[in-house]
């Protein structure tokens, strides 16, 4: 048996770790068609069941707010994976279950991986797994991805869920009297358009139309039932006396609160994270801390990589020297020594700084500081016409502009994203140093060293 499994969840919940654990780290990385968003797929075999696992972008919601959300949503609606693993942070159920409710609405075949289970227990939460699974109508598996705990159980639950697909009744999300009635009425109308109802769950379509979801409204543009649907939607606005999108979100959160009241006990103490936030964001300390951390990052990059760059440099000059002494033909010797070894060496010396810069950046990112840095820099970025979130791509631009442009996908407004992408090449990336030296020495001759050092230190510090 071969099944298709999708992984979804909020960012930073350990989704990628679970993906790596399940697939053994062997992933095929590509792009979503026509998008600059990374698509990761991998495989694993569990008790004779072959699983093709797709890692969807991390999102908080499944509305059409950003490319990531749209990709995740379209994948689930259109590709209809056999099982969707919803990675949920055990210590932050309230926020995380929001996407779970949206998945239920999409009629996805869900298995919940309740990750960071150990953290939740350390914080003193008591979660009734059986009751949670009952109330949501989906299997729940506690996991600790970082310690590879719960992975076998998760695979068991996935293959079991895949076997039960289409057999069990799908649990549905109830929004209460008036809204449910409107949704069912609209769903009945939508059923008549077979082209739509063949692909999309009609109740989901109805809910999204009530919410005024742009993508879904485009879907029904050519539908023969469009008039009737829009009539019910405008009726809904009158009946509800308030914006339906706000009411629906409110209802989802109150459903979650009801569930949590029944399954969870334990209070949230002031965590280390709260204390750190106080220091990192305090008005007097945030700029010094910010500058100190970036200085440390570039210092670390430069100092550690200098050693490796020197080693690479030495290796290639030795190889070049070897070649020029061993080869008799002076032209051939020059080609091998200056051309091949010299050229390779000239490029490869820049590998260590790029590698260590990204290493440092990923540590900062995992520590959560990058999110704080965006917060601290918001005002400054705003002044120069960019978004607080543009800051991280700009910073990565010091290392290399390609991943920097890729990092802009978290910016949700198209205009902000394009502006960030267009200004990003102005950040001086580390690989430009040789160009500065080349042009500098061609134009300024022996005076080139000072301006080159200045430009270089701008990009390397």
């Amino acid at each position: 048996m071969k099944i298709e499994v999708a992984l979804i969840g909020n960012p930073n919940m350990g989704k990628s770790l679970i993906f790596n654990n399940l697939t053994g780290g062997r992933a095929h990385v590509g792009n979503w068609p026509g998008k600059i968003v990374e698509k990761k797929t991998g495989r694993c075999t569990h008790k004779g069941v072959e699983m093709e696992i797709v890692d969807l972008p991390g999102t908080y919601s499944l509305t059409a707010n950003s490319i990531d959300e749209l990709i995740a949503r379209n994948y689930i609606v259109e590709e209809k994976p056999d099982v969707v693993i919803d990675v949920v942070e055990a210590s932050n159920l309230e926020r995380n279950l929001y996407i779970t409710l949206q998945l239920l609405e999409l009629e996805a075949n869900i298995v919940i991986a309740l990750n960071k289970w150990d953290v939740a227990q350390d914080l003193g939460y008591e979660i009734d797994l059986k009751e949670l699974s009952n109330l949501l109508g989906v299997p729940v598996v506690p996991t600790v991805a970082i310690a590879r705990k719960g992975m076998e159980e998760l695979k068991d639950a996935v293959s079991e869920a895949a076997g039960a697909k289409g057999k069990k009744k799908m649990p549905s999300v109830s929004y209460g009297g008036k809204i449910d009635e409107l949704v069912s009425r609209m769903a009945r109308v939508l059923m008549m358009d077979e082209e739509l109802s063949g692909v999309y769950p009609v109740r989901w379509l109805a809910v999204k139309i009530l919410e005024g979801d742009g993508e879904v409204l485009r879907l029904i543009e050519k539908s023969p039932v469009r008039q009737d649907v829009l009539r019910i939607a405008s009726e809904a606005r009158d009946v509800l006396e308030e914006d339906p999108e706000a009411v629906l979100a409110e209802r989802r959160y109150s459903i979650i609160s009801e569930i949590l009241k029944k399954v969870m006990r334990g209070a949230r103490p002031l965590t280390l994270s709260d204390l750190l936030d106080k220091a990192l964001l305090s008005r007097r300390l945030r700029i010094p801390i910010f500058l100190a951390l970036w200085w440390a990052l570039f210092r670390f990059t430069y100092d550690v990589s200098a050693l490796f760059s020197d080693l690479i440099d030495m290796l290639f000059s030795w190889l070049g020297g070897l070649a020029s002494t061993q080869i008799d033909n002076p032209q051939l010797a020059s080609l091998v020594a200056d051309g091949i070894f010299g050229g390779l060496g000239g490029v490869l010396v820049f590998l260590p700084p790029i590698f260590f810069l990204f290493f440092g950046l990923s540590i900062l990112e995992d520590s959560g500081y990058l999110a704080r840095a965006a917060f601290v820099m918001d005002r400054v970025m705003y002044k120069i016409g960019l978004h607080g979130r543009s800051f991280i791509p700009m910073l990565i631009g010091f290392g290399c502009n390609v991943p920097a442009v890729m990092a802009t996908r978290t910016i949700d407004r198209d205009e902000d994203r394009i502006l960030t992408i267009l200004t990003n090449p102005l950040m001086s990336c580390s690989a430009r140093l040789p160009i500065y030296i080349l042009i500098g020495s061609a134009v300024l001759g022996s005076y080139a060293s000072t301006p080159c050092t200045c430009l270089g230190s701008l990009s390397q510090l």
Binding site: Y60, N92, E94, G212, D243, A246, D277, K278, R286
Partner: protein, 71 residues
């Protein structure tokens, strides 16, 4: 001005897209919010439904709250 303690969310004044976006982040009627950090003129860090959310000052100004007393 710093808002300390908690506040119950009352009403929002803004366009549709923002209403939905905020509602999805947990800013719904009656939700308890707590300002963790606010250094004008920069953005505001708010605790809502167990998550820390950073809001631009302009957006944060549009969220109307009423005080719940000292938490």
């Amino acid at each position: 001005m710093r808002i300390e303690g908690g506040g119950a969310l009352k009403r929002r004044l803004m366009d549709m897209g923002l209403v939905r976006r905020l509602a999805e982040m947990g800013f719904t009627r009656g939700a308890r919010v707590r300002v963790l950090h606010s250094g004008p003129p920069g953005p505001v860090l708010v605790m809502v439904r167990g998550s820390r959310v950073a809001l631009g000052r302009g957006v944060a100004m549009k969220v109307l709250v009423s005080p719940l007393g000292v938490a």
